[in-house]
Point group: C2
Chain length 330, copies 2
Amino acid sequence: MKLASLKAGGRDGTLIVVDRALRSWVAVPEIAATLQQAIDDWSNCAPRLNAVSEALNAGGRGDARSLDFAALAAPFPRAFEFVDGSAYLPHVERVRRARGAEVPESFYTDPLMYQATAAGFLGPRDPVYAASEDQGIDFEAEVVVVTDDVPMGVDADEAAGHIQLIGLVNDVSLRNLIPDELAKGFGFLQSKPRSALSPVLVTPDEAGDAWRDSVLRLPLRSWLNGERFGEPDAGVDMQFNFARLIAHAARTRPLAAGTLVGSGTVANQDESVGASCLAERRMLEIIAEGRPRTPFMSFGDSLRIEMLDERGASIFGAIEQVVRRYAVLP
Amino acid sequence: MKLASLKAGGRDGTLIVVDRALRSWVAVPEIAATLQQAIDDWSNCAPRLNAVSEALNAGGRGDARSLDFAALAAPFPRAFEFVDGSAYLPHVERVRRARGAEVPESFYTDPLMYQATAAGFLGPRDPVYAASEDQGIDFEAEVVVVTDDVPMGVDADEAAGHIQLIGLVNDVSLRNLIPDELAKGFGFLQSKPRSALSPVLVTPDEAGDAWRDSVLRLPLRSWLNGERFGEPDAGVDMQFNFARLIAHAARTRPLAAGTLVGSGTVANQDESVGASCLAERRMLEIIAEGRPRTPFMSFGDSLRIEMLDERGASIFGAIEQVVRRYAVLP
């Protein structure tokens, strides 16, 4: 099934079930008002939501309404936890190679993850607001999964069973704030503002055979200002699958129901497939030509992130955002 | 007024108003079921909660019930955002001096803050579970404030007006996991598990004259296994007040209603007042004697954190926790 949230209805929006073709929806107040409520009681809600989904896909819901992507909030307009990995090592290798640094051996066996902000996710058509182009505005196309309650100390095998939903995320990054912030030693805060989620999150069965061993095995496509930017395969070069990432995050604490776990920027060793963020394209330019040619994003630039199944149908809908200047009101 | 949450009532507990003496309480379902609901609609809920508080303190609530600290969850059993500062520079200076490192000049003008986990806060009497004593189990006694909605880009003056509640936090730290985790460059994840909050959060007026210029000016007292451990004054040596910390965190994004902002471990230049964490006492021992004498916490060790007003009354109630061994169930 495919789940989304309308902006209408309050800070957590209104949970809706969306049909497979992303054309119609029904609300489900008799099951759960919000997606957080549903994931809080997933074993009870999931079968009931699934029955609604089946009826909707079979054309059996006369009350179905037409889907307007602009009316959608993020499926989780706010969440309690977002831990983001950096599981595609080609991304890490390129960034380091460009500045002549080695990738530590441990990076191949110990996942790199960080605590990200979860308090507000942008909707799939919301602008990315930034105060200045000098901050180095960038996107990062990633896959994300959502867990139910994960006990502290789970191993990867057990963690796999806690993945309930899959989606896409645009992990907005302010590149020019990163060096100084990371130099302080405590990770990202100002340099990683709010991220955007795909229009819908889906249960793993919606990805069919493309979801195997806690890896989503399809190209993740992105466009910048209408031009194809990259299409690395999310099933290639993922050093740590989502089960490993979950186990890493849960080593010293449980994960709450509705925790989002990100893959990190999808990247392949094969450079011909392009990148999933501007920083990486710029790094490839530095490696090839000594300096970057592609600028970071400007106000008015647009971005699109989408994943298609083997038949060319959009699984999650597209994230489509425009960068806008943020001004503090007087 | 003083607000708390009963464990009973679901994942977010049940909001209660507690009397000034921390002896009795009433639930307020007619106003808000949970503290998150109240802070989401603070301008409407706060005056109504305050009226209940005044009646309770005046002895005018015949339905008041006796307070049992063990029945309390954290006031926010789960929250959407926790950003923790490191505003007491003596703490930073000592930790660095012990290993012969300088404190960068920028640390005196640019707050050091990190994204912390907010998805689950321990109640004031909950155990701290850890898998191994080898992880270097430590506490950190801090002051924390809670904001309503903070717009992106606020300055410190404006930020001050968004502080709605004050409390204490035990920022549990696994010291022996920190060096390797910080060396990876992306901040704390496994080394900072769930934190505990004080029994109640209070509006700033409850602190009287001790709350001035977004700083809480009273000693923060801690005990280890029943022995007085430290009592540094939270009003001394706080390099950045809470308004500055909020403005720092909100530079590139809004803060959601119910965001917790931590002060960092309270520490004074005056070493005679002791410390608010074991790491710092160990650092003072290293500086004085070349090596630490005090071990980190063992299973069974107990901890108490409390702040008294000028008349000796507990403002927030005490955080009292015991460290317990965590075992993964087969």
